[in-house]
Symmetry: C2
């Protein structure tokens, strides 16, 4: 849960998830949506990957990122339990 909350606690990373919801994208395409350097985006992608929120598949020179929302089920459950 810790890595999940940590990954979600950043506007850029949340925006990346919203982008990936629409389409799978490679790292460069993701970076083009932000005014942040590619290494920084790469770092954000790494944190999302650590949380299980995205998966990465190498396609030759490119790495395609996809969203994985199943890890958020645990979060929703946690919230629902708090709500009773």
């Amino acid at each position: 849960m810790n890595s999940l909350f940590k990954a979600l606690n950043d506007h850029t990373r949340r925006a990346i998830l919203e982008l990936l919801k629409e389409n799978d994208l490679n790292a460069g395409e993701i970076a083009n949506h932000f005014h942040i350097s590619k290494p920084s985006i790469s770092h954000h992608l790494d944190l999302l990957k650590q949380a299980g929120l995205v998966t990465a598949i190498k396609n030759g020179q490119y790495i395609t990122y996809s969203i994985n929302t199943t890890v958020m089920d645990e979060l929703v459950q946690w919230i629902m339990k708090l709500k009773d």
Copy 2:
């Protein structure tokens, strides 16, 4: 949303919410559940309050804290939208 994710991104604060789910508690009672100084707990409570996750009511010398889960609805909605 930012203050919400920020407030949730800490184990102690999440544990405080779980405590308050069971009972309203005053600041001292909350502090007694952790091995953290009272000023630090006070700070955590402040962040939870800023996010709207708890409310505080002064009862004489004491301040009673209660959980407020309605602000998490927005978070659940955000997650559901990502899931389609």
